[in-house]
C-alpha cells in the first residue's frame, strides 16, 4: 500500500469511525456512548467527503450531530437520573448477541469479498463537480420530487406525532 496523505487520512477516518462505533456499543455509560456516537458520525461524514459527497457530509453533521444527537442527549437527561446512566447488559444476552453479530459480520465480509461485481473498483481520484446544485436539481426538479414531498410530509407527521406522544397529560 502506497503511503499517501490521502490514504493516511482515509485510514484515520476509518479507524476513528470503527473504533468509536465500538465504543458506542461497549461503553457502559450512556452519555459517553452518545459522545462516542458523535465521533462516529464525524467519521462517517469524513468518509462522505472521501466519496466526494460534500453536501451529504455537511448534512450528516448538521442533522446527526446538531439534531439527532442533541435529541438523544435530551432523551437521556429526561429519562435518567445520574445513577441510571449505566447501560445494563446481561452476560447471556451479550454472548448470544455477540455470536449472532459475529456470524452476521462474517457473512457480510464473505459477501463483500466474493461478489465479483464489486471487485477492483478503485477510486481514480477524479474530481467530480460539486454536488449541491445537482442534488437540488434532482430533488426539486427531477425524479426525486415526489419522494422529497413524501419525506417532507413524513417529517411533518413525525414532528406532530412526537409532540403529541411526548406531551404531558393533564392530570386532574
Amino acid at each position: 500500500m502506497e503511503f499517501t496523505l490521502k490514504n493516511f487520512i482515509f485510514y484515520g477516518f476509518a479507524l476513528m469511525t470503527v473504533a468509536s462505533a465500538l465504543l458506542v456499543v461497549t461503553v457502559r455509560n450512556i452519555v459517553h456512548a452518545a459522545f462516542s456516537l458523535m465521533v462516529t458520525l464525524f467519521g462517517v461524514a469524513g468518509l462522505y467527503v472521501f466519496l466526494q459527497a460534500d453536501f451529504l457530509a455537511a448534512t450528516q453533521v448538521i442533522v446527526y450531530v446538531g439534531g439527532i444527537l442533541v435529541l438523544i442527549l435530551f432523551g437521556v437527561m429526561m429519562t435518567s437520573g445520574r445513577l441510571e446512566m449505566r447501560i445494563h447488559v446481561e452476560r447471556g444476552q451479550l454472548l448470544l448477541g455477540g455470536i449472532v453479530s459475529l456470524a452476521l459480520l462474517t457473512l457480510l465480509l464473505t459477501v463483500i469479498a466474493n461478489t465479483p461485481a464489486w471487485k477492483n473498483l478503485t477510486d481514480d481520484g477524479t474530481e467530480l463537480p460539486p454536488t449541491t446544485e445537482r442534488i437540488g436539481e434532482l430533488i426539486l426538479n427531477g425524479p426525486f420530487l415526489l419522494p422529497f414531498e413524501v419525506v417532507s410530509v413524513l417529517l411533518l407527521v413525525a414532528l406532530i406525532g412526537a409532540a403529541l406522544i411526548s406531551r404531558k397529560e393533564v392530570r386532574e
Binding site: 490521502k6 470503527v18 462505533a21 458506542v24 456499543v25 450512556i30 452518545a34 456516537l37 462516529t40 462517517v44 468518509l47 462522505y48 466519496l51 466526494q52 459527497a53 453536501f55 448534512t59 442533522v63 446527526y64 439534531g67 439527532i68 435529541l71 438523544i72 432523551g75 429519562t79 435518567s80 447501560i87 447488559v89 446481561e90 444476552q93 451479550l94 448477541g97 455477540g98 453479530s101 452476521l104 459480520l105 457480510l108 465480509l109 463483500i112 464489486w118 477492483n120 473498483l121 478503485t122 477510486d123 467530480l128 454536488t131 445537482r134 442534488i135 434532482l138 426525486f144 419525506v151 413524513l154 417529517l155 413525525a158 414532528l159 406525532g161 412526537a162 409532540a163 406522544i165 404531558k168
Partner: protein
Amino acid sequence: MTLQHYLVISAILFTLGIFAVLTSRNAISILMGIELILNSCNLNFAAFSRFMTPPEDISGQIIAIFGIVLAAAEAAVFLAIILAIYREFGSIRPDEVDTLKG
C-alpha cells in the same frame, strides 16, 4: 481506496449496530445502535453511488440524504415514545417494559 474498503467499514458499523440493538438494556442505547445501522446504510448508498454508477449519477447520495431525514424523524418519534414509556413505567429498560408478555 476501493469500494470494498467502504463496504467493510459499513459492514462493521452495521454489525456493531445490530450488536447494540441486541444486547443493550437501555432503549436509548438501542436507538444509538439503530443510528449506527442507518449510517452504515447511508455509507453504502454513497459508496455505491460513487463506484457503481457514472459520476453524474448521484442518486445514491440523494437516497442517503433521505436516509438521514428518515433517521431524524425516526429519532424524534422514538424518543417521544421513550419519554411516554418512561412516564408510564418509570424505566426505559426494554426488558422491563414487557406488558405484551401476557
